[in-house]
Amino acid sequence: MPRPSTAHYTPVAIAFHWLLALMIVGSLSLGLYMSDLPFSPTRLKYYNWHKWAGVTILALSALRLLWRLTHRPPADLPMPAWQQRAAQGAHLALYALFFVVPLAGWAYSSAAGFPIVWLGVLPLPDLVPVDRALSESLKPLHRWMAYGLGAVVVLHIAGALKHHFIDRDGLLRRMLPARS
């Protein structure tokens, strides 16, 4: 059995990870739920909250990527090469989708003629001009990319749990605040 790792991610990386984990899972769930609601004030509220959350996730992901590129994460734990490649691929897909999903949603909203006003206060620029035909093709793009993100998140969680409960290699603890 490999020695449990004691290396941790930086506190900033850990904060980014859990904050965004919460926001992304929340946003995916809200998106899934709200799209079937009938026209109502509740639906209007949920759509706007979802959009606010989406652009916040986009902005935080940009900061997170900057942090990731300028700070070395803990070294990989010993594991079979295919698992290492799979984990790297999953992380790459996660980071790509952190940007693709909100950007597709933002563009969809712009094309549909609903500009985003962050928290109801800060008007954001339209990513694309108002164009109903374009909005009809951006909608499934946003939806399917979001399903893809959901799927990779499930894989990511399954992998982490496997390391924690089956391999018992301390991988998950690296993403928890260090005990002093």
Binding site: F39, S40, P41, L44, K45, N48, A112, G113, F114, P115, I116, V117, G120, V121, P123, V130, R132
Partner: protein, 194 residues
């Protein structure tokens, strides 16, 4: 031709001339040119401006810009022609909660006074009727002329709740603002020069 026939013809011509002569004090009504004319509105949903427009409307405008106080404007909009361009919203607008198109197919404006406000600008006061509710409004109008056509444009704000537009749970103005901005550009032909 006898002199009597000549007399009768002269009389007939004089009478016809009198009938055909326009009444001097009354300017001819301007004709609304649909191409280039538009009426748009903007609502705010949780701070988000959402634009819509009416595609069917008509106007009777009698206005001599040099004597605006003698003019009248009456306006009629087909409420069923309101479009946001979003299938979801366009399906909602005709419902009783909103414009109640089946019961109130027209929104109208009838002027009561027109005042000059300098440099091609006018203040048109009158009654606006939407969904059976009547309110006094004053609309600032900017008139511009090029060749034979005149363009009247302007914008004003109405309170949707004064006209019961958005009833029940939609009276919540934190979700849907009470203010609705209305913009218009009317291309008119046959109006007297400025």
């Amino acid at each position: 031709m006898t002199s009597r026939t000549l007399f009768a013809l002269t009389l007939a011509a004089a009478l016809l001339g009198a009938i055909a002569r326009p009444v001097a004090a009354q300017p001819k009504p301007a004709v609304l040119v649909p191409a280039g004319s538009e009426i748009g509105f903007t609502t705010k949903q949780m701070g988000v401006p959402v634009d819509g427009k009416f595609s069917a409307f008509n106007a009777q405008i009698v206005l001599d810009p040099k004597k605006p106080e003698t003019g009248t404007v009456s306006f009629s909009i087909d409420t069923g022609s309101a479009r946001f361009g979003s299938a979801e919203l366009d399906a909602e607008v005709p419902k009783p909660t909103w414009l109640s198109v089946a019961l109130f197919p027209k929104a109208t404006f009838q002027s009561s006074s027109i005042k000059a406000a300098g440099a091609g600008r006018f203040e048109v006061a009158g009654k606006l009727t939407i969904k059976g509710s009547v309110r006094d409004i004053t609309v600032p109008v900017q008139l511009a002329q090029s060749g034979a056509s005149s363009t009247a444009s302007g914008a004003f704000t109405i309170k949707r709740l004064e006209f019961k537009v958005g009833e029940g749970e939609w009276t919540d103005t934190s979700l849907l603002a009470n203010d609705v901005q209305v913009r218009f550009k009317l291309v008119l032909s046959g109006m007297a020069p400025l």
